[in-house]
Symmetry: D2
Subunit: 478 residues, 4 copies
């Protein structure tokens, strides 16, 4: 750990789940939204919320909804919306319900049990449970709470288990969900509120000196160009010669349709950069620098750039679309950008200095301990926001946290954190011992496990199988 | 950790991934094979191997195969058989190839790359990759190696990428796989080699004093009865009054068809204990003590026993069929029996006392370190067996280990380890900090996180949403 | 047959596949496009072709395409586009290839064999084979031929089996197909060219006197209103009091998403007729006359109108979406509108008067007969158009014809043909004898089969089963 | 039709749905059961029924069932068993219910409506509706009726909608179905009762002189050999030299797993004729005469025999497994053996000579006609058996009949009927006119349509597309 000690501020540090040797990385890939382009928060979510809300009213939702405004302290990323009952759920990796709200009301244990016998949901039922996994989902998350809050209290509507009734109309939670999703698709990519980040050009230049660099974004060409021009093009009054945003990348791919991109993918086309339209036909040639492509797949990218999956470090913000899929389907090295980590670190640090004893273990008064634990957890959770931490509920890790731990090799507040490390840095994961190993080790001494993060296939001898006599196949037909 | 210090021998200890409070457990469920009934190893696998081998020869495989005998030091549980190329693979949780053998030959890095570009397999392709997950698969694992070894060297056969050719016959790896699977199904449940375990009756009696107990096995009634009579019925010369094996359980269910049992399940029938045959029709009544049932589902079990999923601790040996499914589909508490853990603990302890410095960090000579690491890993792996540890390859955890960590709340060498703990014991998982939390914590001090393993839904207040003015729905139709 | 003799012009006759007793019909349902609203042909298709063609050029297809103009004598409805090889196929109900063109070139037998071994396609492969089943598909059909014609001859492009290559771009037949489909979706509902049909209001009024009437269209509200206003609203100068188009129907449903409508369907919503927008929420009340609904399903329609499936005669033009699905999923009576039937009848009549002997049967010179047959077929086919008849290729019926025979109870050139029959008319299908029945009957005399088109469940006695002694279940437990 | 006039007895005639020119057939394929091997009926079904019945009793069904004996006049092939409600249904091709029995009780119209709203079932729901399509299903069909009959009347059991209840046991119709299916699989291939048919050897010899001959049966080798030895091997006292049954075929394939055989198929293996066991490995060589193969697929057969699908006439008795699939997936010519046709022809002939006027058309008294029609239908139906004809219910064709018409090119009582025709015979289907064609034709004169049963792709010219000016692609890049 002391390797990183000198890296200074913990907010600029890269955290390590699996070892990654930058010396072996030949190619860096980037998502755009929330990775290179950071939206101003909460202004951005607030704007998004208002546009969604207004859209709903414009298609017939009650005008009283206009009085709701965005409260950034309410939603946490990674919540699950139950389209059957309209609840927002915070769950752990197995589907155990940690927190449950209906509108803005927290449900108590027995209420949760009525909705979810065993306080448990089958996460695989994706028809019913929708995971609000990205930062783009934050405004939407808050809107679900507002809708349920409004209709529940509105005297014009009767409350039913699956929604609300007013005369002949039945507003099911399912149809509200569908309306919000439709409104989301309607709004997508229509508003901009991006931070200027002066160090991004420098960052990409540094990387491009030692490796190939590509961009793979689900956005379309026009939006991508607008954002990256803002972030990367030299200002008109700069002394440096004007440099196109495209020159920062060896390859730019838009319309990637991740996560489809990491599987079968789509047809690869060229973008006509004069018109922003796609060239007809499928692109089949070699890589043209300065050309922008549309669609394709991760396999095509590897071919065009002539790199293998394990030589790519892919940096993105979407735990499912960017990280899980690139890791699971392609074996890429992954770097997750988690902007909320800044807040998580702040609260954690504060709490670390406050907390004292607890841990305890005086079995004689377990009731007292439990009650104390609840209080601490409650306080800590509220430190993060009304739905608590992105990553934990007390000692229990959220679904988001468990996916981060499994699929992201590295993670940090920002991709710029990579600037703190030399280009051949070896990020070494601490060896997390299994419980039985810890037990043994604590009995003996610290056991440094060999780190095999690279080049791990080593044996080449043949074991002699155990046979009675000599197994010899005879030439005679058996 | 000191709670367990007094528990004596580490081989009888229960290891903890997630906290479990035995005080909240109202029901214990058991698988039978390799859980209550422990087969004599390696005699059992050796016998199984010979029966499989003989069966193949009887359906036309070359008689030279008869010279192979079982070598218990070769196979490790959890290996993956590639039905396309005939290789046995040890992989990590993402599908990275750690070790690869073709017959008894270890493949080198470049050879592995030719078979598996990026040294990576897509585990989801279950048509192609078969995970040898259970202890029943050990004989089979060794047989695949023998078959490939034999045909590769036999001069009557020509080697092809997908198999071997002899005249007009093509022996594909796929068809050999199918033949072995068929032979497995042919042999299933036809041979017995079970340890007498005198403490099992005591163990079940102790549990039954404090909780309900059920058995759920995929075996049929006759086999189940034979095994459990052997294990549980009082010997004829015993002074204790003769007690039926069935009296140890509140509920016995055979033919469970796990993992189907944890989902939709099948029809629940009664077993006619005179004939061992199923009663016709579906059983719809209440629980009859002393009755044996066939089929059904985990939901039906909860109804019959009147317990909720979280009140059940299910003890089994099958990481997929028993543990993963009961956890993922039903939210049960899970206890994995890992007989190999005895060996893993022995090797780990030995190595702990041998190892010295290494790990180190003298970045100036990374080549030297790498080479040293390889040697250590190699030595350690061979300590476990020819395919290495069930759980690790150096610092990398295997697929099996990662599933154990995710889905088994508790694990131990044997279910009897539970005897070491009082019936209200709280198994407390150590708080595994996330990397960024460790980083903060190491800067400050140790942070005991609240443990919320039970009863964790706590809030009941309502958050006031942020509105402009007061959101009030009017009675007038909008 | 004489019942219909007085019905005059054969072009206004209703043809009968299965008997339908109008006396039992309590509800008539109508599709809109090509059923109530008849588009001016070929002006409409020609306009559609030009818009599609221009759209392709606007997204980058070569400007030379602009020289193609629509030729209504080329496309026949029901052709199959092979997205792999770019061919248009006319096939029979089993998938035997009857005619095959590549661009505008007819392929010979041996060429067809190279593309389609056995001159046969597996129609179920809907990923590859796209059936151009509706009149809306005619412009598209012609465009596929134009595209293949152009690229094949254009010297800038090289011909490959799966498409055309120009530099780094590969124009696959598949991607051309996708581009045309996208262009189709882009254009849908943007152009109008509907015939005024003065008798439609009268027709609907007549029906409404004796039965319920509903409209179920996939078009949206605004388009539907525009069309039906034009067709049904009384002209301003008319003496009759102004009557809304909506008053002609008991129920109007737009956005039906047939064929989904005939299965699970979608949420039923009310249309706000002031704005044309959907009311939020699901409609759950009773039928409101004059209200327009969106979505829903055929089951909901039956509930709202209180009719059973067999009491509905559904009139539509889409063999798959309207007729096959309503018949197969719901058991509705079906009436297919086939505008091309006017042309088919004309050619058939012409040929009937021309043809003479043939049929023949002089087995001694089968070669001569075959050659003559080919000539006749060829001539007849061209009488229908360049791809021949919608329904036949010589003695072989097309896929379209066989579906028409199976799923449409009645069919006619126009829905107005129903005006020729009294509202209680019994359409009696001739009894089509099976080959073995014909053989017997020709030996004896004409056998009039009982017609059971309605109310056919007749028996109510119980057959005594054959038992040995008396089967009596005893009260004693077995 | 006069071509066949001289063919004598109608029971030996081949009936024609689609034209087939034997002169183009290069290969004849045969199923074995009920095609070459004819079982003694009803002895065979009776034996089967008793074994099934006894098996059920042996697994716990009430012994009173033993009193039921087989009544061959009850079951008709092609009935549908509703596993939800235990009814036997006779349906038409769309799923309209024609006859419905519950046990041995015919249900009246209103009762049918309660079970099946709209008197209609969705045939595609194969989870629920099981089609009893083969002659092997006859005993089973009768058994379902017996079971429902027994439990309905037995005072020990209460009647429920989905089955019967007795104490804690619920006998659902679904579980009875499963028990019978299991019993069927248990019995399969264990009993023999085959007619000696002296003309079969002659028949196969004749065919083998002019074409290739293969056998493709789902039975295993031992059963196949037993049956075919009995049918084909020269009797020991015959003067002709002893000839093996295998010499009658160019290729014998057992274990075909039709209908899978007509799709992806399975591994092709050789049978070791000494042991009856399969050789290991996949067979990859050329055809060896006298060798018996196992598994494989229709594609492999075409390769081994070097024929194309359209050159094969496949003769079988299973409308789905043999005929529909070979036609739909492979485009083979098909010949369906329908033993019941002998009875159908007999009844039809009898009725033809009895019937007089009816059909009629005196619209003034439709009630009288309907009532008369019902009586006639009822009488005719009972002439066929208690569930009526295999093919019709009055004027309505059954599902079986409609599949026979669509998928069988030819059909007959026995495959031996082919002996009546020369090996180059052209079976010419009468041209079945479509209703609108009949209408025109009856106005003019008889129109002999060109028969294109073979070699029908004829055109090779190119149509000039309609263009404005000349479509010329320019060499310059567009």
């Amino acid at each position: 750990m002391d390797v990183q000690a000198g890296k200074g501020d913990i907010h600029h540090r890269v955290f390590i789940n699996k070892s990654v040797n930058l010396g072996n990385i030949k190619c860096y890939g980037f998502d755009m939204d929330y990775t290179l382009a950071i939206y101003k928060s909460p202004e951005y979510e607030s704007l998004g919320f208002e546009m969604l809300r207004d859209r709903l009213v414009s298609i017939g939702y009650p005008h009283e909804l206009l009085r709701y405004t965005y409260d950034s302290t309410f939603p946490t990323r990674g919540l699950v919306y139950d389209t059957a009952y309209g609840n927002l759920l915070k769950v752990d990796s197995h589907g155990n319900v940690l927190v449950c709200t209906h509108g803005f009301t927290y449900l108590r244990g027995e209420e949760v049990h009525q909705y979810y016998p065993n306080q448990f949901i089958q996460r695989d039922d994706t028809e019913r449970f929708y995971i609000l996994n990205t930062l783009f989902n934050l405004s939407e998350t808050y809107l679900y709470a507002c809708l349920v809050d409004f209709f529940t209290d509105c005297s014009r509507y009767q409350n039913y288990q699956l929604g609300f009734k007013h005369g002949d109309l039945f507003m099911s939670f399912k149809s509200m969900f569908q309306d919000v999703r439709d409104a989301m698709n309607f709004l997508h990519d229509t508003y901009i509120s991006v931070f200027s980040q002066p160090r991004i050009p420098l960052f990409l230049e540094r990387i491009k000196e030692v490796a190939k660099v590509f961009l793979a974004t689900n956005s379309n060409y026009n939006y991508t160009e607008a954002i990256l021009k803002y972030l990367l093009d030299a200002p008109p009054d700069s002394k440096s010669p004007r440099k196109s945003w495209r020159s920062f990348f060896d390859l730019v791919v838009v319309d990637t349709q991740k996560p489809l991109f990491f599987g079968e993918g789509t047809v690869l086309r060229q973008v006509d950069m004069d018109t922003g339209k796609l060239r007809i036909g499928t692109y089949t040639g070699h890589l043209h620098h300065g050309t922008v492509y549309s669609g394709g797949s991760s396999d095509i990218i590897c071919d065009l750039l002539d790199v293998k999956g394990k030589e790519i470090l892919y940096v993105g913000d979407h735990i499912f679309g960017d990280i899980l899929k690139s890791k699971k389907r392609q074996g890429w090295k992954t770097f997750l950008v988690v902007p909320e980590l800044a807040n998580e670190l702040r609260v954690w640090t504060d709490n670390s200095s406050k907390q004292t004893d607890s841990g305890c273990s005086d079995h004689s008064d377990i009731g007292f301990i439990k009650s104390k634990i609840k209080k601490i957890t409650y306080t800590m959770e509220l430190g993060y926001g009304k739905m608590g931490s992105l990553l934990r509920y007390g000692s229990i890790k959220t679904l988001f946290a468990s996916q981060l731990l499994r699929y992201a090799d590295l993670y940090a507040v920002s991709c710029l954190s990579l600037l703190q490390y030399p280009s051949t840095h070896l990020f070494r994961a601490p060896n997390v011992l299994m419980p039985h190993e810890s037990a043994v080790t604590s009995l003996t001494k610290d056991l440094p496990l060999p780190d095999l993060s690279a080049n791990h296939i080593i044996r080449s001898t043949t074991i002699k199988p155990v046979t009675v006599g000599h197994v010899q196949c005879s030439l005679a037909q058996h």
